[in-house]
């Protein structure tokens, strides 16, 4: 059957979508709504049971007057702006490969590809995302605001202000997330995907390309599948861009250990994003560590907080270590033993982190003293992270799997906070205990290398 070119096709969006819903989407949409409501319920429950008491404990165990002063100071405002900027930046980053609008593949193939107004065809998923963003933002704001208010750091009005601010950040974050999804499609129409799409919502939804929706849907499956099977390499590769930089630079041959170190240095030259991101995180972590260790009034939770960017920074520089772990179970290509190879892959990140922490030691001598154990802790933590392997078969719930993946970072943050606190007080007994703790983490990492390297055979 052919169409008359002069005729017009009448499309009743509501009717078409109603029929499509009845045939392919209805049950899936109801399921998605149920899952969303359940996730919201769990978040609310966990915020009440864990979030509020933990924040209370942190605020109450620190100098309230000092905290109040910081909240009113330009530094406090700047920290808030940076935190909001980081949330929006993260939303943009995530939107490049997994945006807020991800309908199921049958819906994309059978409904989105029809002449129905695309804004209406995908609006449901956008609404899930924006409501989710507002809800999460609101809950976080409420927990922080009520934590401050109940600890008598601020007045009760802070609860309202923080909740409203959280909702606003959640909504704006969802819009930035969507904008990044629109721009993730490498089509020639980037001139029409400028920042104005942030407030022209229907246009933003109409600008979503069907292929882009498919790609984001596939990325979602890849990420979920990687998390379930423990195949993190697949997830990592789906999040990275292909490297094409500095191809003319050659890896210089040499002794086995040296050439492995040079491999990592060359890799960082070619992946400047990782190099810069690692430097940014490490400098941020070192700055917080200087503040936490040099300022007597600084709250002790700052020391644990400093470990988060330090851990992330170190991780940005350990691609070689992760690839060694990825290669386990394949025939040997590299001539050195697994422990020698792992040690070589730790040289570049440890060296870079040592430079930053060494400079930080110039600002706070306590950082200088704690530098070596912190470096050992980071190296041990990343051995654990790279060689943690698949979650045990007994871990079937999302919470237990999340715990499995977070285990190395949580270990580094907890031990690191304890370690930094010990060096801040300068008491030799806790310092000695921390040295034993760090050695235990490093030994744990080494045992994971051995275990994962040899376990696959059976």
């Amino acid at each position: 059957m052919t169409q008359d070119p002069s005729a017009e096709l009448e499309v009743d969006d509501a009717e078409w979508l109603g029929q499509a819903d009845w045939v392919v989407g209805g049950e899936a949409a109801r399921q998605a709504r149920k899952q969303g409501l359940y996730a919201g319920y769990v978040l609310l429950l966990f915020s009440g049971i864990y979030g509020f008491p933990v924040l209370q404990a942190i605020f109450r165990t620190n100098d309230r007057g000092w905290l109040r002063e910081q909240l009113d100071s330009p530094i406090g405002v700047a920290a808030l702006v940076v935190a909001i900027g980081a949330v929006l930046g993260a939303a943009y980053w995530a939107g490049r490969f997994r945006g807020p609008v991800v309908p199921p593949l049958p819906w994309i193939d059978l409904v989105v590809s029809t002449p129905v107004d695309r804004a209406r065809a995908v609006r449901r998923w956008w609404r899930y995302a924006v409501v989710g963003g507002a809800f999460v933002g609101g809950v976080v704001g409420l927990v922080v605001g009520s934590g401050l208010a109940f600890a008598q750091v601020t007045g009760v009005v802070a609860m309202v202000v923080a909740t409203v601010l959280g909702v606003v950040v959640g909504v704006v974050g969802a819009r930035v997330w969507l904008w990044a999804q629109v721009r993730s499609w490498p089509g020639p129409d980037h001139a029409t995907t400028g920042p104005s799409l942030l407030w022209r919502l229907p246009d933003a939804l109409r600008a979503l390309h069907a292929e882009s929706l498919r790609a984001h849907s596939a990325n979602t499956s890849t990420l979920a599948g990687s998390a379930i099977t423990g195949n993190l390499r697949t997830a990592r590769l789906s999040l990275t861009r292909p490297i094409t930089h500095a191809r003319a630079v050659r890896l210089r041959a040499g002794r086995p250990f040296a050439v492995l170190v040079r491999r990592d240095v060359l890799g960082l030259r070619r992946q400047r994003v990782d190099l810069v991101a690692g430097a940014g995180f490490t400098v941020l972590g070192a700055a917080v560590l200087i503040w936490g260790m040099a300022q007597p009034a600084a709250p002790s939770f700052a020391l644990g907080l400093a470990m988060v960017p330090l851990y992330l920074g170190f991780g940005s520089w350990t691609e070689g270590l992760r690839l060694q772990a990825d290669n386990i179970g394949t025939p040997a290509l590299i001539g050195t033993g697994p422990l020698t190879e792992a040690a070589a892959h730790l040289v570049a990140p440890t060296g870079l982190a040592a430079v930053v922490l060494g400079l930080a030691g110039g600002f706070a001598p306590a950082v200088w003293a704690a530098g070596l154990p912190v470096l050992a802790l980071l190296a041990g933590g990343h051995l654990l992270a790279a060689f943690r392997g698949d979650p045990p078969a007994t871990m079937v719930t999302p919470q237990s799997r999340l715990f499995w993946y977070a285990m190395p970072s949580v270990t580094v943050v907890l031990v690191g906070a304890f370690l930094a606190q010990a060096y801040r007080t300068g008491n030799p007994a806790p310092e000695a205990f921390c040295t034993i703790l760090v050695a235990a983490v490093a030994a744990w990492g080494v045992s994971r290398v051995r275990r994962l390297t040899y376990r696959h055979r059976t």
């Binding site: 990275t240 094409t244 050659r250 041959a253 060359l266 025939p331 290509l333 055979r457």
Partner: protein
Amino acid sequence: MARVAVLAGEVRASGVGKSIDTTTLLLPTDVAADPGECVVLRGPNGSGKTTLLRIIGGLLEPTTGSATIGGRQADERDRAIRAAVAALIGVPATYRDLTLIDHLVLVDSTWGSDPNTSDDRGLALLEELGIAQLHDRFPHELSSGQEQLFRLALTLSRPCSVLLLDEPEQRLDTTKRQVVAGMIRGRTGGGATVVMACHDPALIEALATRVVDVVPAR
């Protein structure tokens, strides 16, 4: 520096089989290959050729029987076995931030070869496989056939006395298959033992000193 025994390329697999629960992946099979030989494993898809190669390479423990290399039990946890066996079984994970020549220099260097001539060896290997012009490409910039040639280059760039190959002809055109056949013949001529799974009758005809038919479990 640890001292590692250099093993002769005598491959013996005696009644090796593999089952997982009630599923049989490989029926008990015998393989014997001596230095300078090329033994071809032949059989339909799913008959267990790859499983057999993994057992011979010490990557997988057999449920029945035993496999040895140079008289030692095939277990890749043994450094001597790792030093003896080079294998292309499955897809090796490559570094996305290294070019082809960088990969070959890295592998060559970690086996303690002369660093002064490492680049030359890498380029010669790529030249032999007809992909020297791609030396500065990253692995993600290759076609599937070029990728297969690169994997072969990676495997052949390390020293070995036993070479295990799982369908080296995959994705290659007739000319390239002949090139690969020439290189495998070169390895056996140099005293290496080659055990490979193969579906190409021409390649089997050209290389096999012995053929082992792997019988499917069902």
